[in-house]
Amino acid sequence: MIRRRPFTRLFLLLLLAVAGWVWHERVNLQAFPDIIAAYTAKEYCSCRYVANNPADYCRGYVKQYVPTSAFSDNPERSEVTASGLGRTHTARWMGERQGCRLVP
């Protein structure tokens, strides 16, 4: 048995290990895809509306190795929305003192 299907066994063992790791890291893995959209929305909002930097500079400033798929900056509402890895997040400028914050 062992000699006949060594690869199947190895594969199953590997699968089990991966499944174990996924279970162990389930909370982190579930939140992981949110990072890029949340980071981009929040840090762009602050770059633009707190630090008052130009829009094109802020786009470059928030660029990371993970790409974003959609992005919108609504200056009338001081609201920035970004999407990436299938998740979308929005940050809003709250005022002079409190700056930007991700909206729930």
Partner: protein, 360 residues
């Protein structure tokens, strides 16, 4: 006769006090530095900037104050003198300074458990204010930023699971070691301090406290301090100040917590900020932790972190090259903002070149 002597003494003290320069609405400008040493400083701090690769040293602002007077100031676009720049973890030392005022108002003692002011810390009832200020809560915190985003507690706190209530997220971290026994740099510890301050003051007073007790007295007019959704200041990361305004905090620290004739911070508080944490092991971090400030001190026989800077140098440091350096004996305050993405910037090299440039 005695009265006459007293008058003379009083006059001398007054003259000495007058001789001290403080910024008013603007900083006084002295003779600006020039010469080959300044060229060497410029060459290090402001090399041609590559926005495509984002490699190398990318200084946004460099400001040098001596004796309360601006002697060097330079910015790189788009940062200008009026830009409130993100300070990242300099915010931690700013929170320590705000806490110093609260300490002077007898709102807490260093030995107080944080749980006294912030109930979620009842999970860790023996963690004291001093432990948090030393980044020694003993909580199992992962401080990596972009290189280990899956496991990073900071990234989860700022952007995903923790962002609604960052202090609670930090307080919910499991214990890894006994509090106060070991240094472990943690943005979570700083945000628990911020929540503890809120507990001392109540929500309403807390929301204006940094402005009321620190920014306004120092003449800082446009500071932003972002909060989480629970309206707790993100003490770990999100204070924004112009370089000139951050230098005011530096001058306050250089002069031992005094601003003009007002002792804003108790001297013993500044002494605590500048006292190395005794359980810190040399080499654990890029500088020696004091009470939420970074020190250039020899510990356990190891060399100073910045050998070319004097031993009394202390600093507030932040991600991507943000720094506020204070050298009390040299009467120097240096603000350096940057956008360094590759870690090639060296504090010691910059300080060495600033010190060479300010020599008469």
């Amino acid at each position: 006769m005695v009265r006459g002597l007293l008058c003379v003494a009083l006059l001398l003290v007054t003259v000495a006090a007058r001789a001290e320069t403080w910024p008013d609405k603007e900083w006084a400008k002295g003779a600006l530095l020039a010469g080959p040493a300044v060229d060497a400083l410029n060459a290090y701090a402001f090399p041609p900037r590559d926005d495509a690769t984002r490699q190398g040293i990318r200084t946004d602002a460099l400001l040098v104050i001596r004796d309360g007077v601006v002697i060097y100031e330079r910015y790189a676009a788009p940062t200008i003198a009026s830009t409130p720049h993100l300070t990242w973890s300099i915010s931690k030392s700013l929170m320590a300074t705000v806490l110093g005022v609260a300490y002077g108002e007898n709102r807490f003692k260093l030995t107080d458990p944080a749980a006294r002011f912030y109930p979620p810390m009842k999970q860790h009832p023996t963690v004291t204010m001093a432990d948090l200020l030393h980044w020694a809560s003993g909580l199992d915190w992962q401080e990596d930023y972009e290189y280990a985003p899956l496991k990073s507690s900071v990234v989860a706190m700022l952007y995903t699971r923790g962002r609604g209530d960052m202090a609670e997220f930090a307080a919910d971290t499991e214990r890894a070691a006994a509090p106060g026994q070991a240094f472990r740099y943690s943005s979570g510890d700083s945000n628990i301090l911020s929540a503890a301050l809120k507990g001392m003051l109540g929500h309403k007073a807390y929301m204006s406290y940094p402005w009321d007790v620190l920014f306004k007295p120092l003449g800082i007019r446009n500071a932003t301090w972002e909060t989480d959704a629970d309206e707790t200041f993100v003490a770990s990361s999100y204070a924004y100040l112009t370089a000139r305004d951050l230098a005011r905090v530096g001058l306050l620290m250089a002069r031992n917590g005094r601003w003009g004739d007002q002792q804003l911070l108790p001297q013993e508080w500044v002494a605590f900020n500048r006292q190395p944490f005794d359980s810190y092991k040399a080499g654990q971090d890029e500088a020696v932790p004091g009470g939420h400030w970074w020190l250039n001190r020899e510990v356990q026989g190891a060399a100073r972190p910045w050998p070319d800077a004097p031993a009394d140098t202390f600093a507030a440091l932040g991600h991507w090259g943000q720094a506020l350096y204070v050298m009390p004996d040299e009467h120097l305050v240096i603000v350096r903002y940057g956008d360094d993405r590759d870690g090639s910037y060296r504090h010691n090299e910059l300080l060495k070149r600033v010190l060479a440039a300010v020599q008469p």
